[in-house]
Amino acid sequence: MPEKILAVLEQREGQIKKVSYEVLSLANKLSKQLASEFESVILGNEVSNISEINKYSSCKTTHFKNPELNNYSSSAYSKIISNFINDNQFTIVILPNTAMGIDLATRVAVKTNSAIATDCIKVDFLDGALVFTKPVYAGKSLINFKLNSERKVFTIRPNIFKAEMIEASNGAIEVKEVADLDLSTKVTSYKKSEGKLDVSEADIIVSGGRGMKGSENFHLIEELAEALGAAVGASRAVVDAGWRPHREQVGQTGKTVSPTLYVACGISGAIQHLAGMSSSKYIVAINKDKDAPIFNIADYGIAGDVFEILPALTQEIKKLKS
């Protein structure tokens, strides 16, 4: 069976998510290396920025449309995509490693008789076969592996693969209205968190740890985050203390993040914290203990008091931006 690639794109509230372009770009690249066909698919209702797809690839896109598809339904989504894969004989299916992407990938893998891998950070070739790399043991180790099945489904970690624009193209976008959805699992509402940006989607993260001394001091973190256009993150110590909500926790039992810049303030750098953020491109640490382990992985550090440094840093960033 000749290889045929499918990029599964994700939208939220009618907007294509950034990681979808990373999926498209990788699919585009692999299709060239394998000289294979490649298409993309998106499920939703109205998708206002759907023409953006053409900036990243000239592939054909199928948009399965129904008001009930605006939110993710594991039963409805997985049936539609699995039928699409089976009918069109796709052999390589790429999804984003997000709450939706992971859930969907597993269901689709079983329904299409595929082997599955999640959270890949590299896709390469070895003797003509695809070799995937994923972090294991919370990033303390990496494995390279193959999937020895005719069909493969895998998800890619956001912010690792580049979304690469191409020259303007006009790939066809075909809208298919669908009916009779399987809504045995159905999202009845979506509660957006009141925080501005989520750590798992942010390009810059400013995180606070126990060194912040109390929830009342987190305005210093929030102000720097605001100046940088960043999300607020936290260590488990401060989440367990109830200073910050769990959704902000970064680490082995929190979120895994790979932002361009991670600023750790008053965080010691315990192995479980590093697990969640060591793949950040640049790391800045502010900690008054110069021997804190966080400095071992930081690119730049200030071995000083957060209460002195944070306000000065916020000031300096504001000056730069104005």
């Binding site: 939220r12 993710y72 709450a99 939706m100 992971i102 859930d103 990938a105 597993t106 269901r107 893998a109 079983v110 082997a115 599955i116 891998a117 959270d119 994923k134 972090p135 294991v136 043991y137 919370a138 303390k140 180790s141 494995i143 390279n144 193959k146 045995s184 699992t185 159905k186 999202v187 009845t188 509402s189 979506y190 509660k191 957006k192 940006l197 989520d198 940088l228 769990h246 926790q249 082995q252 039992t253 361009t260 192995i271 479980q272 800045v284 071992n296 992985i297 930081a298 690119d299 730049y300 550090g301 200030i302 071995a303 000083g304 002195e308 440094i309 000065a312 840093l313 300096e316 730069l320």
Partner: protein, 250 residues
């Protein structure tokens, strides 16, 4: 109501990982094993669900592993799970093999509510719960932080990027649990004593086709420790300059 919880036995999160001679696995020497942290929420929820349904409800824990998992399984029993099953594979299974074994056992036990952790902190895949659900034809809600089961109806909140989805479904169901769902209890002395008398049913299982072939395991490229620019706010302008001109991130 029969309730199952699938528990994986994983290296303690503080473990320093050493790669074994074969370069395909970790060196188990000196590694302590624990209940997968996310599975603690699954166990707690199984216990609470049993309390809620009452009557002759029963809880089962199921683990695919070898004899070394028994110590961890005793801890699961000490928390109050009624019965444990250990499925011993004849060769190294991948996620799909594990899911198949679990699905078969869940079916033969007749469980209608099955809890998994969101993710196992060894291979960090986050898929076995959903794979098992799909193999069983059960409904499934993953990454759950709030759960209500009323009769046949299941209403859960699921953590996603930037918010929560409220999901409605029905039994039979697989739930994968995320931190925030509950506060796991500690084992009581009575529980620990009782666990010693509980039976662990052991079964040999055959692993057929393994799709995942590990080529090599490596340590991540080690990072050069960075520069400490200063010790007070006088270092701030230099930090900002480096971020702008060298790293080009702001």
């Amino acid at each position: 109501m029969k309730i199952a919880v699938c528990v994986s036995n994983v290296p303690d999160t503080a473990t320093k990982i050493k790669i074994a001679q074969d370069r395909k696995s970790i060196d188990p020497a000196g590694v302590t094993f624990i209940i997968n942290p996310y599975d603690e929420f699954a166990i707690e929820e199984a216990l609470k669900t049993k309390e809620k349904f009452g009557g002759d409800s029963l809880t089962y824990s199921i683990t695919v592993g070898n004899d070394s998992a028994k110590e961890t399984i005793r801890k699961v029993l000490a928390l109050g799970i009624d019965e444990a099953v250990l499925l011993k594979p004849d060769k190294n299974p991948d996620s799909l093999n594990i899911a198949k074994a679990l699905a078969e056992e869940i079916k033969s036990l007749g469980c209608e509510i099955v809890f998994f952790g969101k993710q196992s902190v060894d291979y960090d895949s986050g898929i076995i719960g959903q794979l098992t659900a799909e193999l069983l034809g059960f409904n499934c809600i993953s990454v759950v932080v709030d759960l209500k089961i009323e009769g046949n109806i299941v209403i859960a909140e699921r953590e996603i990027e930037g918010g929560r989805e409220v999901v409605e479904s029905s039994l039979p169901i697989v739930i994968t649990t995320q931190k925030g769902l509950n506060e796991p209890r500690y084992a009581s002395l009575k529980g620990i004593m009782a666990a010693k008398k509980k039976n662990i049913t052991e079964k040999q299982i055959q692993i057929n086709e393994v799709f995942t072939e590990i080529v090599e395991m490596n340590l991540p490229p080690s990072k050069q420790p960075g520069r400490i620019i200063g010790t007070d706010s006088s270092a701030v302008p230099e930090l900002v300059r480096l971020l702008r001109e060298e790293a080009k991130v702001i």
